[in-house]
C-alpha cells in the first residue's frame, strides 16, 4: 500500500519531470539523429555503409519494448578469406544508440545471431555488419512500439 506521503512525493516527481520534458530543446529529433550518427561513426570510422547483405529480423509491431526478440543474418560464406567480423545493432530512439556488438569469425560457420533488446520508442533499428574485406553493410527496420522500455521520463 502506498502511503499518502509517498504518493505526494511521487506525484510531485511526475509533475517535475513532465515540466522538464516541456523544457526539452525543440530540436530533440536532430540531437538524437546526431547521437546515432556519432555512434555509427565510432564503429565504422570513415568507411561507407551500404545497404544489403544483412537481414535484420524483428517484429514490426512491438507490444512490449522491454524484450524485443531480434535476429541478424548476414549473407556470407564465412570462410577464412571472406567472413563477417562483427555485427553491430543500434536503435534510433533509445537514450544510448548502442544495443550490442558481436564479434564473429570463420569458425562461426554461419553469420547469424539472435538476442533480445529493449526499444524505447517507435523508430528505426539498424544492424551493421563488418566484413573481413573491410566493407560495411547494413539493414534498417522501422518498428512501432506500443509499450516503451522503462523510461518514465525524459526520452532523451
Amino acid at each position: 500500500m502506498i502511503s499518502r506521503r509517498d504518493f505526494l512525493l511521487f506525484s510531485s516527481c511526475v509533475l517535475a519531470s513532465s515540466r522538464a520534458a516541456a523544457q526539452l530543446p525543440p530540436n530533440i529529433a536532430a540531437l538524437r539523429q546526431a547521437a546515432l550518427e556519432e555512434a555509427i561513426r565510432k564503429v565504422v570510422g570513415d568507411a561507407q555503409v551500404r545497404p544489403g547483405k544483412v537481414t535484420l529480423d524483428l517484429p514490426p509491431l512491438i507490444d512490449n519494448g522491454n524484450t524485443v526478440p531480434l535476429s541478424v543474418t548476414v549473407d556470407s560464406p564465412m570462410t577464412e578469406a571472406d567472413h563477417v567480423k562483427a555485427i553491430h545493432i543500434f536503435t534510433e530512439k533509445n537514450p544510448q544508440p548502442f544495443v550490442m556488438s558481436a564479434h564473429l569469425g570463420p569458425r562461426s560457420g554461419r553469420a547469424r545471431i539472435s538476442t533480445r533488446a529493449r526499444i524505447a520508442d517507435t523508430g528505426k533499428v539498424i544492424a551493421i555488419a563488418q566484413l573481413s574485406d573491410g566493407s560495411y553493410w547494413s539493414d534498417t527496420v522501422s518498428v512501432v512500439v506500443t509499450l516503451s522500455a522503462c523510461l518514465e521520463d525524459g526520452l532523451i
Binding site: D6, L9, F10, C13, A16, S17, N66, T67, V68, S71, T91, N94, P95, Q96, F98, V99, M100, S101, A102, H103, L104, G105, R107, S108, G109, R110, R112, I113, S114, T115, R116, A117, R118, I119, A149, C150, L151, E152, D153
Partner: protein, 106 residues
Amino acid sequence: MARVVVNVPASAKRGEVIEIRTLAGHVMESGFRRTERGVLIPRDIITRFVCTYNGVEIFSAELHPAMAANPLISFTTVATESGALEFRWTGDNGYAVTESAKISVA
C-alpha cells in the same frame, strides 16, 4: 546468486554448424530508471560475453543497457573437435560468471 543456462548439443558431426544459446539471469538495470522518489537507479549490466572452444575464442559480444533483462545470446559455431566450451560473462559491480559445456564430435 547468478544463474546462467547454456544450450549446446551434446554431440555433433565434424564440420557441422551447431547453434549455441546462452541465457544469463541478470536484471540489466539500464541506469535510466528512477525510483518513485525520483532517485536515479545506478547502472548494473553485463558488459561483455566471451565464448571459447578448447581455449580458442570463437565468439564475443559487448552488451549495452539496451539489452533486455536476462540477456539471451544465440550464435553458431563449427563443431571441429571434441572438448569443452567455456562461457564467460562480466559486468558492472564485479559481476563475473563462467559456465562450461562438453561436446563430443564424431
